[in-house]
Symmetry: C2
Subunit: 237 residues, 2 copies
């Protein structure tokens, strides 16, 4: 096993609790506007449009498009479905940027801070650069670098998203370890030569979660949290 020099992190679900964050922002909107939207349902519906929207880019049916734009297109459709037609452009864009304000799981900032002392810690997410940078500023996520979709112009799990991210760090994939709460992401990273770390996030999808409760393959590390991962990787408090 090669020595790990960089950790590449999936973000949505692995580092931040997107579902609770969107629900919390939505409930504030309900209060402010006297709405009765079911924001758990809304968040799930919005997220359900995520993979299909990226798939059009992956397959070349549309040119490179950043996630902020895909999120906005999905949101515009959802607002119609929910009968919300009186919002200003500013209000719609504010909700779209809720993805820039997602809150980290409680162990994320401390775990990353510990891991950063020994390793390069970079994102390898499908989020665009502004989304990930703003999220980091909002919550104190101490990334060394934002890699992944926008800088490689490929959405995971396409090989280029992993290979080009490693290449930009000047590293062979074998010296990188992908960290994710999703088995499929780690399978793709492993296929491209990376080491892998699984951290379960069993409440990511709320009561309807039906996968990714545990490591379904052999990974380099399997951890209960980022703190446990830091312990395993020799980064004590």
């Amino acid at each position: 096993m090669k020595q790990i020099q960089a950790l590449l992190f999936d973000v949505f679900g692995t580092v931040v609790d997107w579902r609770t964050s969107i629900i919390d922002e939505g409930r504030v909107i309900n209060q402010q506007q006297g709405l009765e939207v079911d924001w758990a349902e809304f968040a799930d519906a919005w997220r359900a449009m995520y993979q299909p929207s990226m798939e059009k880019v992956r397959t070349g049916k549309r040119p490179w498009t950043i996630l902020d734009h895909l999120h906005r297109e999905s949101l515009d459709k959802l607002l119609i479905d929910y009968g919300i037609s009186n919002w200003s452009e500013e209000q719609i864009e504010y909700l779209n940027r809720a993805w820039h304000r997602l809150k980290p799981w409680s162990d994320a900032v401390e775990g990353l801070t510990r891991l950063k002392r020994k390793f390069i810690i970079a994102t390898c997410s499908n989020g665009n650069v502004a989304l990930i940078v703003n999220m980091a500023k909002h919550s104190g996520l101490p990334w060394d670098m934002v890699l992944g979709a926008e800088v490689t112009r490929h959405y995971k799990p396409q090989d280029e998203a992993y290979l080009e991210s490693a290449r930009m760090l000047g590293l062979d994939p074998e010296h990188c370890c992908m960290v994710a709460a999703h088995n499929s992401d780690l399978v793709a990273a492993s296929r491209n030569g990376m080491q892998t770390a699984f951290v379960a996030r069993p409440t990511e999808y709320g009561p309807n979660q039906d996968k990714d409760f545990s490591a379904e393959n052999e990974y380099t590390h399997v951890a209960r949290s980022f703190l446990d991962l830091a312990d395993q990787m020799g980064c004590p408090p």
Copy 2:
């Protein structure tokens, strides 16, 4: 004047003292190998090949090539000029990566740490991602993001290096401020709509420095150091 949201930093000369750093590494090599190379001359000769090497990429005479490779090609030529023919690949590559270990000016880390509390701080350098990330890890430079040449595939002062860097942050150029010790860099940033901050580094080029002693144009800020810049921009200690 629009509100500044992100500061984009030139790196070589503005944040780090490349000349002294290369000289210091070279003198260690002299001691280790019993050589008598004039490393001040060597450093200046290496840097003199920097702009011509990038110009071939800018003009399309060669495809996109990262700075690590350009530095290495220049180094290979210099080693011939200096009659050094007995080094291993590992020794040559170690010296080439001296650019990954350049030391910051004494005010840089503290100034950046203060500025980071209020602004996004990103690099907009001609250095490739690995070079800038490794330098940051080596010296504790607290960048939020590495932008500039490699992620935009354009070398400054080409417009795209500035415009694409701002675009990746989701910002209009007017909300970005380029920080540099070089008048030519700020002229190009300003031409592309950015605000500008000049920080003089009058010893960057050693005793032969013949330019950039002072601000030669109107800039948004003119500061004596990153600490002075932090004071001017409302980021107290």
